[in-house]
């Protein structure tokens, strides 16, 4: 059986039989090469993901157990969501190298199952947020106004930008730690450790309140500067350019 939507007119069943003879890694390479050539890899990708469907279900159930939530019906939805994410961003992100064992080849199956796991974590976190949120008027909840739809689309579009911004934040913070460790320590206590109070921050760091205030302010200035410079580097592929 092929994933809904993957078997298109023109895809002969002989192709599918040929795919069945390939290993996961060979078929994944075929998908990547087909995509690089600008051709549609849907049929091959569909065959590949279908092989992983059962394992995806196991991953979903493990996350469900962690959250003590969810139902068997979720498996199909989360599987589809993971396939969508693999197509949209995962194929570009998979580098074929194992992070846990540098130098060794990574398995595309493991990579896909990670996407499944993250999709499940996202879903159950969102579900909890909804459950924890204050009750709203039923009518308002059930109606998808054009404004809500536009908002949802906008959120989806901005997801990649948000990921990038969060990654840049941590890169900037790392530079702050390296170049201004005292300021980084104060920023960490004040913002990352949720103290958000200069008296508590000063007590934790063994400094005066005035010093805490000064360090956090300076940290903020440096972080802004580093973020701006990271953005410069991002917009210019050659960091050593003459400007």
């Amino acid at each position: 059986m092929v994933v809904d939507g993957f078997l298109r007119p023109g895809i002969h069943s002989d192709h599918l039989a040929a795919y069945d003879k390939l290993t996961d890694a060979e078929l994944f390479d075929f998908v990547v090469q087909t995509r690089t050539k600008g051709q549609d890899p849907s049929a091959a990708l569909g065959t590949l993901c279908e092989r992983w469907r059962k394992a995806a279900g196991v991953v979903v159930r493990r996350v469900q157990a962690s959250y003590r939530a969810g139902s068997p019906d979720d498996e199909g939805e989360l599987y589809q969501e993971a396939v969508r994410k693999l197509i949209e961003r995962g194929l570009d992100q998979f580098h074929g190298q194992s992070e846990a064992h540098p130098g060794k080849a990574a398995s595309p199956k493991t990579f896909f199952l990670r996407i499944v796991k993250h999709a499940a974590i996202d879903a159950y976190r969102r579900q909890r947020e909804l459950l924890d949120a204050p009750a709203k008027d039923d009518e308002e909840d059930n109606r998808e106004s054009p404004r809500q739809i536009a908002y949802a689309i906008n959120l989806s579009k901005r997801a990649a930008e948000r990921d990038e911004a969060q990654s840049l934040y941590w890169t900037a913070y790392d530079r702050l730690k390296a170049e201004h460790p005292n300021e980084a320590g104060a920023w960490d206590a004040y913002h990352h450790q949720d103290l958000e109070d200069h008296e508590a921050c000063a007590k934790k760091l063994g400094i005066t309140v005035a010093n805490s205030y000064k360090r956090v302010s300076r940290a903020q200035a440096y972080l802004r500067r580093y973020l701006q410079e990271l953005m410069d580097e991002g917009s210019d592929p050659s960091p050593d350019s003459d400007d």
């Binding site: 450790q193 302010s217 200035a221 972080l223 990271l230």
Partner: protein, 306 residues
């Protein structure tokens, strides 16, 4: 009430007028005899170039420059250029950017020290630009005919200096935003230059009207709510931000809206793939101790895939 920063640099201060009167005198004294030393040649070329790049405010300086440049031996000029260490000069200039930035964050005596240090380093970069201008003048005013050994040597020196200046500036022009804390002085210096020289003298001119950025960096409060409370209410800043694309980009790039409140999905993904920084991992672990939802997400992340 002080004038808005966009316009205060258009007036030439008496200090600057006085400085170039002294430049003329020093140049005359230094060129009483032929200049044969590398260091002296560098000084004379810088002084002559200073006058040549500021003809609009100083009047015609051709005579001063011709007399001075003619006294510099070509070998001495070449030795001066050979002695310029681009890596060391780049480092000094980068330090000037850092000092100027720190001057924004400091008060009183410390601010004055940082400001002075930055301005001295920028003046040193400007002196190199003036030396280059003097070499270019010597070549442009050599007249026709076959190229003499002197001109060939000066041409080689100028080419070498151009190459070194490009190395000195590399990667720093974009960081000119760090200099906004000393913009008042920079505008004065920029305004003293001939219009054709200003854009090249980025150390004086780049972002020299972007005083708005000072309010972006100088937060009066450390609280998160204050992070977006920029001084855009002042009439001048609002007008500048509305038209300055560089500042608009800087404001957008420097948003601290992504200071983490919780463990995000992208942090989980980076952690899983070994891309999270040490600090990011530390934040996740520390935060999860007091946040059940984030702890649950980390527990779920630890589940094996296969």
């Amino acid at each position: 009430m002080s004038p808005p920063p966009d316009v205060d640099g258009d007036t030439i201060s008496p200090e600057i007028q006085k400085r170039y009167a002294e430049t003329r005198r020093e140049l005359e004294t230094s060129t009483q005899s032929t200049v044969t030393g590398a260091k002296e040649a560098g000084r004379v070329l810088a002084l002559a170039g200073d006058l040549w790049r500021r003809r609009d405010i100083l009047g015609d300086t051709t005579r001063d420059v011709v007399l001075a440049v003619d006294k510099v031996e070509a070998q001495a000029a070449q030795a001066f250029v050979a002695g310029v260490d681009p890596a060391a000069e780049h480092k000094k200039l980068a330090r000037a950017l850092d000092d100027a930035f720190d001057s924004i964050l400091e008060e009183g005596e410390e601010r004055a020290l940082y400001t002075h240090s930055a301005e001295m380093a920028l003046a040193a970069r400007d002196a190199l630009a003036s030396a280059r201008a003097a070499l270019a003048f010597a070549l442009d005013n050599a007249g026709g005919g076959a190229e003499s050994n002197r001109l060939a040597t000066l041409r080689t020196a100028k080419t070498e200096l151009d190459d070194k200046l490009s190395k000195i500036d590399r990667g720093l022009v974009k960081k000119a935003r760090c200099l906004v804390g000393i913009n008042q002085a920079r505008r004065r210096e920029s305004a003293a230059l001939d219009a054709s020289e200003r854009a090249m003298a980025w150390w004086w001119s780049a972002r020299s009207n972007c005083d708005f950025l000072v309010s972006l960096y100088r937060s009066e409060e450390g609280a998160p709510g204050a992070q977006t409370r920029l001084d855009v209410t002042s009439k001048h800043n609002a007008a500048h931000l509305a038209t300055c694309e560089d500042c608009q980009r800087d404001v957008e790039a420097s948003s601290l809206a992504y200071t983490p409140q919780h463990v995000t999905a992208s942090s989980l993904w980076r952690r899983q793939h070994g891309e999270a920084t040490q600090a990011e991992v530390a934040f996740m672990d520390t935060h999860a101790k007091s946040c059940k939802d984030c702890q649950r997400a980390l527990d779920a992340l630890a589940q094996p895939e296969e």
